[in-house]
Symmetry: C2
Subunit: 419 residues, 2 copies
């Protein structure tokens, strides 16, 4: 058999009630695209025998591979196992091997689970390959029928993702006929229109390009036929070169990681002074493992008296210009570098909303300051969106602004070295 | 006509490629449940004429109300408008009124959009109610056919959510036959099993209860028939009373908001000293609008020398016990309260991973300290999960620990007052 088409069934009342955001779908979509295939369709059904039966029958009728996510737990709500048995016409039988594996998993974690729950999760579909679950109790199943495959996987993301990587992919790979290969380049610091113009000024050798713009970065995606690997690599290299220095490094594809790489390369340390983001910039920087080599710490100066006492912002500056002003942010930066022993700094102050806006300083107005040594850059932004969105965009704007200053230094140094 | 059943179609290659997580589904699921109905099914299809046609036909055949999200933009990928026209047998015609609304929207934002894009988004379905979009350019459509409704809405969440609230709900409400009413109680500080035991010890008057456990909190959901409003209110009040003091206040249903309410009630200020969370606790506290009345600021003491210089942690403490130790966290708390003028404090230090773990201090080990005046509580946690998960759980553990201390003070005061 050959796998060309892939569909997904997600089951669980929690998804349709809005208790859980379906992150499994996006994660699997990326995996399947990396395999060179496309998810053709996803359907989400409640914990209901009829709905699940219909979805499985539809999937088997339409797609070479149908992945069912969820419904393998021990409760009466969990219907994936019995419904698959009925749809496939296969028996369910207790497996002592699976029961032993569940007991071993629980013993290692000192978890106490009723015998009935172990028994329910030890029932296996005769005719299926059992897929072990090393992060949980419910095993998965690989059910090959004629020229189709139905895969059943548990819903909790750590279990689901590990089983796709370790159990499903090795079984899919020999059967898969890839439809395409692709390369992705992450870009930040220029608008989407400029990313497109630059990309399309390159010799693309006829390959298709697409763009996906997010607040943090723009993804350029280049697709080719599976046999065009050399062409794709050459085109991707040309596009990356044309987009330099805005393309994020392949091994640091987020703004926080790219900033970290530049700081390390230039042997500089960084600190933060945050008002409206309340620690969000420091949190983004410390999302990167290994950041302790360049990120020393930060000050969340939410109250004005904190800005005065611990960043040395003069009371007159706050009184005359207000907390959200270029003058205050400049003073926050000066205080950060003077008192905290860092080479570089980020300081922000803004009106995150929903309250606190005025005609002169509306909700969404944010002042972002960055410092590298004695260099200062202070910019005023006006963001749209709710409190969370204004704060998120401020984090990206601040990291992006520092990245540009650090990049400019690299370019200057290169120029000087070459002169 | 009567609306009893609701289904959703999400369209967009970005959802199936994993570029975008489908948050609209969860948001709409919550809304529809608040209306007293259930989402019966969701299907996600690519930007493909055949797939979208089949999904719309299925929806109209099965559900009273089918909501189509996405595909209303101006590009050739955006197929919802022409596919709906074909499925319904309705004409598309340019609307000068819609074109004028789009121009007015763009003029207010100084955005430059090609005439062709305005023309594409001004095409309306004859026979549909046009639903204005005050956050974007693409209008929506309410298409009533026989005893069924097909609603077309744009995909960007700020546009989608506002239009559901302001345009769809007023049209749905008179047609809706609610299936149930429900009450929710958010609980934190006790395990799910204790929440269930406590809830079920109350006279539930035969109403159904369910639980949804998340790292931050456990939701108790009580459902009743629409005519049982008085019974539901009485049962919810009894359950809330039984779960006191662990139930989160109705007007502060997150840990950060509940902590803020307790601090305000006790006229206390708060500061933070964070290592492994890198600002995440301060960021969570400042997610709450109005937090400036009690949250003064924080120190992100990522580097040890920052802990020494700006929190006064003795170098010998760090050398002898390490950064991740009860001793260091206690010193961080002491320094925070002594030097930063706050009444209460949160301090954390831990091994977020993936590197830095040892046999003695493995990845996921986190020390959480909280202080209220001279009271100190220091606890050691061992969390599972990746770096992001360990950091997220630390934020909730820290906020939960401070909440319990603040609650205990209230209870003591009450006891004393009653004595």
């Amino acid at each position: 058999m050959t796998i060309r088409t892939v569909e997904v069934i997600c089951t669980g009342n929690e998804l349709l009630l809005g208790d859980t955001v379906n992150t499994n779908l996006a994660w699997l979509g990326q995996q399947v695209a990396d395999w060179g295939a496309r998810l053709g369709r996803e359907v989400c059904v409640p914990d209901d025998r009829n709905a699940l039966t219909e979805a499985m029958r539809d999937g088997l009728a339409r797609a070479d591979l149908t992945v069912v996510i969820g419904g393998l737990g021990p409760t009466q709500d969990d219907l994936t196992r019995p419904v698959a048995a009925a749809v496939l016409g296969w028996e369910l039988a207790p497996s002592p091997v699976v029961a032993a594996a569940i007991r071993a998993f629980l013993a290692g974690r000192r978890l106490n689970v009723p015998e009935a729950a172990i028994a329910a999760q030890s029932e296996v579909l005769e005719g299926a390959d059992v897929l072990p679950n090393r992060n949980g109790t419910a095993p998965g199943f690989w059910c090959a029928v004629d020229d189709r495959v139905l895969v059943l996987l548990p819903g909790p993301p750590p279990e689901f993702e590990t089983m796709v990587r370790e159990q499903v992919w090795p079984r899919v790979q020999p059967l898969l006929e890839p439809q395409f290969i692709r390369a992705e380049i992450q870009v930040a610091g220029i608008p989407e229109s400029q990313v497109a113009t630059t990309t399309e000024s390159v010799d693309l050798a006829g390959l298709a390009v697409g763009y996906c713009a997010k607040p943090e970065r723009i993804t350029v995606r280049i697709e080719a036929a599976p046999k065009q690997a050399a062409t794709l690599a050459a085109v991707a290299a040309r596009v990356r070169a044309a987009l330099a220095p805005y393309a994020l490094p392949e091994d640091a594809p987020t703004l926080a990681a790219a900033v970290g790489q530049l700081l390390q390369a230039q042997d500089l340390t960084l600190g933060t002074a945050e008002s409206c983001t309340g620690g969000g910039i420091a949190a983004a920087l410390t999302d990167v493992s290994g950041c302790s080599t360049y990120f020393l710490g930060g000050v969340v100066s939410y109250a004005n008296r904190w800005k005065e006492a611990f960043l040395g912002v003069p009371g007159e500056t706050l009184a005359q210009f207000g907390a959200v002003s270029e003058e205050t942010v400049r003073a926050m930066l000066d205080g950060l570098l003077a008192h905290y022993g860092v080479d570089c700094g980020i300081a922000v102050s803004g009106v995150a909303g929903p309250t606190g806006g005025t005609a002169e300083k509306p909700v969404g107005m944010v002042v972002v300051g960055t410092a590298v040594g004695s260099d200062r850059e202070i910019r005023v932004f006006q963001f749209r969106g709710d409190r969370a969105e204004v704060r998120r965009r401020t984090v990206f704007a601040a990291l992006g602004q520092l990245r540009m200053t650090l990049l400019a230094r690299t370019l200057d140094l290169t120029t000087i070295n070459h002169a």
